[in-house]
Subunit: 151 residues, 6 copies
């Protein structure tokens, strides 16, 4: 059976920390589906979803086994739809750990076959936080250091 | 003097984790008042407050010493109103601990007689998080596993 | 049924932080048994156990409902022996929380009736740590600020 | 070279915990600029910015080396503008630590000369949290204990 | 290339929590080598190493792709010896996270090909801690609930 | 008044993470005294104290304002002896934070003039941990990457 992993997130923006997890994870899985959660009922994204999809696709253009999609449903259900038995997530710090602990148990309740696999974000990227990066961008700061693609 | 505890929260929804704390706490106190904080100025609740009160009452129908109320005032003041000298709270993880540490000190400044008592949430419920459960429900997921009552 | 709580620890030494927990806990319980774990197979204590018992007894001389004992068995078993259904513990920080989380679950496995009740140590005492205090004493520092009794 | 530190925050309100950090920090630096981040695009502040500036100025009226300003730009850029090579921040708990860890690395990427210096908030103020204090004030509670100035 | 994972630890004893990680991990890897670190220069183990190896082998008798060995060298070097490019580890809580974060970075410095993969221990086993279990056993407590094999 | 900081630790060994803190701290202080705590009553060090002093001196040979000493007394007292009003410490993670929080409060009780100043260890060094590095060295691993001097 193929090992397919979902890498879900809001990726607003997709950072070098996210790229780090995907590039390290791809050795472990046959394919990775980068899935951008899109919640129409919530406040809009800072970076447009189409733009973000495009940029992530560019980033992994050389990897045929990496797909990029958006979704507006339960992650556990999305995994079923795609035959993905794994969720791949990065852990940057203890705040992440506590949150991921909750979300992974809930995902497992909703889909017993779903296993969450964690990598610890490489130290040089562990401080990269989408919400801080948005703040930098909002004030005209240079965020090219924090994202893996050309803005 | 009777030992009356307040169990305050937004309970949106009231989870099996909350039930766990109440059922374990009731051995320690003469009565527990489950108090749903209701902030009219903030964004609306996901589950209606009347519905939530009804469901929690159903859950503890067999316990005459457990009351359910809503409130829109300071927790420390509510405690005074009801002659409650204890606040009962569950701790799921370190994020909870840091938050409860702050809030309990502030409550104690506001009402010197008020003592906060903590139980650690049982492991099977420690991942139950109202905000994640709302997200599951929003997307049509089955949340019956996470709440102690029939939806 | 009487509410009896065990307050177990090594108390080497018994600090003002420990006293804080006992004095706040005694309002909740009918009696508290301060139980000094004594492990003959391990490295010796810094302060003699007889001395520590004496000093704790002095500290609570006015409280007939507070007892001080030493023990060398499972805490869960000691609780049974004394008809204690509660373990009282203080939480100073997240490191304490993670440790107490583990130990309370294990105690509950060993003795299903045993409930662990936590108070958060008052901020002025939260930095008091028996091992740091021993270190201060070892180098001749004044530790009278940290312990509730005269040395 | 003069040692100028920025003490940035939203200070809504400025608490005794903030005052504690400034008073302890001022021994270390030649001057401190208390800088209230003001984000016009976000939800309004609870306490007006002019009022807050006034109150902080009053609090440090005796300290000619302490300035109070508001700003709506990158903190790293503001530091450059004022010749400040240091950012001063208080740490209350592990949640603060994880957040400050991220933000300080990002600030350092944006301005290589900028060094973030941390003090641990004194225990008596470590539970003071602007958002909890706003909540207390919203319900008519007395917050005079939590802020260093007369409301 | 075969995906071989090392599952290193002192396993004194091997708990149900360890078993949980191995059984969940085996779906991800072609084989898992359970490697008991044995440090002759340190204080002796509580449970003999031969006994522990025997018991772990029994536990996984039905899994030909799971091996059990002991070792007294660098984990990073052991991985090379066995052609293992992965280290599998369980995370129970934030204390584990901080420790594993350090150790995984160091392993990666020592052996660039080595990737550490984490699973979060299932909640029912997250409190199982070898040192607490040894303590229970030392005092004659029943630890059969905590280990996957017959003692 | 001159700003003198103590940088105390056991430094067994002194790592690149320690060097990072000293090099960043030296901009803030007039001088830094690196003080190796030496506890004759405890188990011996892994690296000899004379050797470690020599190596740290070499590392900072170009900095006349950096001194290296060993001590066997209270840190708070050592600070007085040297007219140091500051303790400089690095924070790598939340485990460090909780420990440093305790120790800094205790130091402040013992010497009211003593202020503890924290820098967050640069991400590339945050995983460097003396005890893990000793373990690597014990098994013949190459630790040159982790220490700032030639072994």
């Amino acid at each position: 059976m193929k090992k397919i992993a979902l890498f879900p997130g809001s990726f607003d923006p997709f950072t070098c920390g996210h790229e780090d997890i995907v590039l390290r994870g791809i050795k472990l899985f046959d394919s990775i589906i980068i899935a951008i959660g899109y919640n129409s009922s919530k406040d809009g994204r800072y970076f447009k979803i189409e733009y973000t999809i495009e940029k992530i696709k560019e980033t992994f253009a050389d990897y045929s086994q990496i797909q990029v999609i958006s979704y507006a449903k339960l992650t556990a259900e999305l995994a079923s739809d795609h035959g993905a038995n794994y969720i791949l997530r990065g852990l940057r710090n203890t705040t992440d750990f506590e949150y991921e602990n909750s979300i992974s148990q809930v995902n497992n309740y909703l889909n017993k076959k779903l296993e969450s696999i964690f990598l610890i974000t490489s130290p040089e990227f562990a401080s990269f936080n989408s919400s801080i990066i948005r703040e930098v961008h909002r004030y005209g700061g240079d965020i090219s250091h924090f994202v893996p693609y050309k803005l």
